[in-house]
Symmetry: C2
Subunit: 560 residues, 2 copies
């Protein structure tokens, strides 16, 4: 064999000593190695150290392996932010399988879609969510699809309703596993670690596939972007089913931090935990922060340290910036999407902003900002020509990312992947501008998405549901600004001629009927809060002019 | 083509949007992007922002590219810690070429060896070091080797002796370069970025080849290991020619920090810069820290913040731990080698150590510690069987590393590479133990072990005992061949100036006193049979040259 002409590529290959595939689970190994006895997770009265967490992950991996789960397989979970959910993030990747975290608020049909599309072989479900999951399983069964092996989590911290529907209880199951199970992390860091479905604007949800390399880099990227110190105490206000909790389950072991588990968003509960466990960091949608700001002062007594928060999903409004400042807490605005592992840009604060008035600080902190250190590129382009827009804060274009914290692509959907990656960038579908200082600011969400309480709602999905009602001729669902939820869905419906209501009472009854109809098909949070009847405005070619309806919705909100 | 059976590997390939080779220079791009106006480097009266640093790097890359420098080529530098040295770290990799940083204290023959072995095409040299370099070039010339293109740095901050020996002055040269030069980072993150020769104790120096991936990960690894905050002010007390300054030139842009340049180690100068620039962090060998501790109190006046220091090269002695505490500075002990990009393990402080007495704190902080988060493995093994030693703090073995911050190998030396990587681990050649808490502690270099009557004697342990005697300034203990015992310990001792013996009788008495002193601390078989007084030979970096002493010991034995 001829020798390589470049001496730096000759006899200098990868080997077991000098190369290891990047995997975020290696950070869990580090914490278990270096801080074995330090608290990794708190859940009600339960405490787990980092060595216990790794042992739990190995137990889980061993019982999965015993069921022949490995590379190419999917393990789905419908879980709140509890230790079993952390186990899933730490243990499923040890088998080479892919973790599919399902939004706990979804309706049965969407859950069934995900289980079918991902080919889930194992499903771990918390008792609280078993009703919708049981329905989903019945739908799978009815369609002749082989059902997954179902494991129940019967969390001792939960005493609400919900039956067990599985074959075995989770703790019993992993108790039979091997805490010293031998495993091998995937040989290729490009291998998938997670599958997270997005509510696409059209058609079926798309399955975002993320890989070990990206999850590792974003886990570390969170430390760099937020200047995370050693030993943070992190409260799980952000659902772990959202982009794997923005990779924070893997960030925490990298800094030997503590996961404080939380089943539900409740200011009294949250502030009590902040005080009791001396929480230092948390993340969430604006609604979470607002709820804390608006909580009674006595709930905040004794919290005399600076709690640091990340907010995403919408720009933090003035009330939030001001409210957090009053509490002495520090909020950082981040932006991203499931396709970029959660946040991939951060509104880095500048020293000079401190001198600005409130309006100025709100303006600056409302920007989506600059790319994470571990992301290669973030810019705004003309989506047709791929030309970068000028940094004038005015010229609108599409926000695009590129780099190592961009997904592998959409599962079994090469067409959608190619579309998302056209021109060598990931297209967010969001419209924005670039300010002269290089900070990106969103101007318009991808036009069909409504963000309510941090959750994406596809207006088209809601419209599809409405169209299934026999009275509906045409309809459009748009976002209405809402002080509590950020946005809520508002439906404009044009009725078939023979279904026009004869009286205001009849109109009210029909509106209620349509909402109930939607609720029979969709998760409640996706359904319209209000239905307005009338002719839906259309272009000459028959396209519904949503921008007119959005303007109406905004002015109605301003008035109302 | 058949579809891949694993759906997560089908239609989900790397592309320009979702994959970028890791390179530490991307961190410089980030700083220039996000903090363009922030101070990147201070040198005397000079200031460079991050956008200026990237522009300088691009100028350098463009003039190198104009000389056809690219992948497979070597650019050598003989430079102190000045902006041109930072440029070299930021600009040379933009061409795809490899940066070879040469120790500024080396003799002409060793410099000539490196230039010849690396095939350097360009050589950038500071005027201060031109005498030895000129000699080296003459040696190359005499041997018929094609000389590199030589560029002089005539640093305005330097007013000492030294002629220009090159074709062009560095600032003039890059002034002709293009500050917007278009470049492409290497397509393969496994490509080499650096070549650093180790001062082998026997035979020719070995050229350690490090790559973009490892340099990126270690740059980030420093942030994780040291919990570096945003905007540190970092003083360059550590030579940048040592393992690329432990990757810190690339760590600083990742946290938008400031490089404070420094040409020479001088406590007055250093403490003045610490005060003037509000330095927060620095690294160095024990001797640097000791010099600062022993500096007059008035030089430290006004430095009322906690300066954080990393120390490597030897365990910090009691006087340093105590001295740093007295100053209110914080010292962290790290350990590594050129082959692992500088430090790859850190003696992470535990809360419970604070309660220990000085001896206890010295003992704990003297450990080499635990692996960096970005390093996959660190352990101690029996070098024959590769069995991990028990965590008993007693069983000695060889310290080994594995993972992404291990070199590609030695340049043009596959035999040495294979030897270093045998058994799937990088062999450090250092002997150590693992304590029950998992912390590694060095006991000795493999070749520094003295085997007497079948018993292993750690020369470091004997030296430690000698250092406890007030007359000892420096010492080294080596093996002397012995017909009866195999080997016996022979001590070379350099005395403090005021303790020099006045007569042969006084010398004999002092030698006896030192042996008795050792016997009061150690088992008799470990104690020196003989003590010789004199100046202990050291390398340019202050490392004691034990091989010279061993040679002396051997020839003395042959004669005697």
């Amino acid at each position: 064999m001829p020798t390589h002409p470049n001496p730096y590529r000759r006899d200098l290959d990868r080997n077991a000593a000098n190369h290891a595939p990047l995997s975020p689970v290696s950070l869990v190994e580090w914490a278990a190695d270096v801080f074995p006895d330090r608290c990794a997770a708190i859940h009600g009265p339960l405490r787990y150290s980092w060595s216990q967490m790794l042992a739990r992950a190995r137990r889980l991996a061993s019982v999965l392996a015993a069921r022949d789960i490995g590379a190419g397989d999917t393990v789905s979970v419908v879980l709140p932010n509890i230790p079993a959910m952390l186990d899933a993030h730490y243990g499923v990747p040890l088998t080479g399988a892919v973790l599919n975290t399902i939004n706990t608020r979804l309706d049965a049909a969407t859950i069934a879609f995900q289980l079918r599309h991902s080919g889930a072989k194992v499903l771990i479900v918390d008792r609280e969510f078993s009703p919708a999951v049981a329905q989903a399983l019945a739908q799978l069964d009815a369609s002749g699809h082989e059902p997954p092996f179902v494991v129940d989590v019967d969390d001792p911290v939960y005493d609400g309703p919900g039956e067990r529907i599985g074959t075995v209880e989770y703790e019993d199951w992993i108790a039979g596993g091997d805490p010293a199970h031998r495993y091998a992390l995937p040989p290729d860091e490009w291998d998938a670690i997670g599958l997270n479905y997005t509510s696409g604007t059209t058609g079926d949800p798309k399955g975002v596939v993320v890989h070990h390399r990206g999850a590792y880099l974003n886990a570390v990227g969170n430390v760099l972007a937020w200047s995370l110190p050693r030993h943070p105490v992190y409260l799980w206000t952000l659902p772990l089913f959202h982009c794997n909790g923005w990779c924070f389950p893997w960030t925490l072991p990298a800094v030997a931090g503590t996961n404080v588990c939380l089943r539900r968003i409740d200011p009294t509960l949250i502030l009590g935990m902040v005080r009791e466990h001396r929480v230092t960091h948390y993340c969430g949608a604006p609604i979470v922060h607002s709820a804390l700001i608006n909580a009674p002062a006595e709930l905040k007594a004794g919290i005399d340290w600076t709690v640091k928060a990340m907010v995403a999903g919408a720009a933090p409004p003035a009330s939030m910036i001001e409210g957090m400042e009053r509490m002495g807490w520090e909020v950082t605005h981040v932006y991203g999407l499931t396709e970029v592992y959660g946040p991939a840009s951060v509104c880095v604060k500048r020293d000079e902003w401190q001198a600005l008035d409130l309006a100025g600080r709100v303006d600056r902190n409302g920007r989506q900002g600059v790319r994470y250190q571990v992301q290669q590129g973030l810019t705004v382009v003309d989506p047709e020509t791929m030309q970068v827009v000028p940094r004038d804060g005015e010229t609108m274009g599409e926000v695009v990312f590129r780099g190592n914290i961009v997904m592998k692509g959409y599962l079994k959907n090469p067409k959608a992947s190619a579309e998302a990656f056209r021109g060598g960038w990931f297209h967010t579908g969001d419209l924005g501008v670039v300010h002269p200082d290089g900070y990106v600011k969103l101007k318009d969400r991808a036009k069909d998405i409504i963000i309510s309480g941090g959750e994406n709602i596809s207006s088209i999905e809601v419209e599809d549901a409405l169209y299934k009602h026999p009275a509906v001729l045409a309809c459009a669902v748009v976002a209405r600004p809402d002080p509590k939820w950020g946005e809520t869905p508002l439906a404009f419906v044009e009725l078939k001629a023979d279904r026009e209501p004869a009286s205001p009472e009849a109109a009210k009854a029909l509106a209620d009927e349509l909402i109930a109809h939607c609720r029979s098909l969709l998760a409640h949070f996706k359904c319209p809060r209000e239905v307005r009847f009338g002719v839906v405005p259309k272009t000459s070619t028959g396209k519904i002019q949503k921008h007119l309806l959005r303007a109406q919705a905004r002015s109605a909100a301003a008035i109302g």
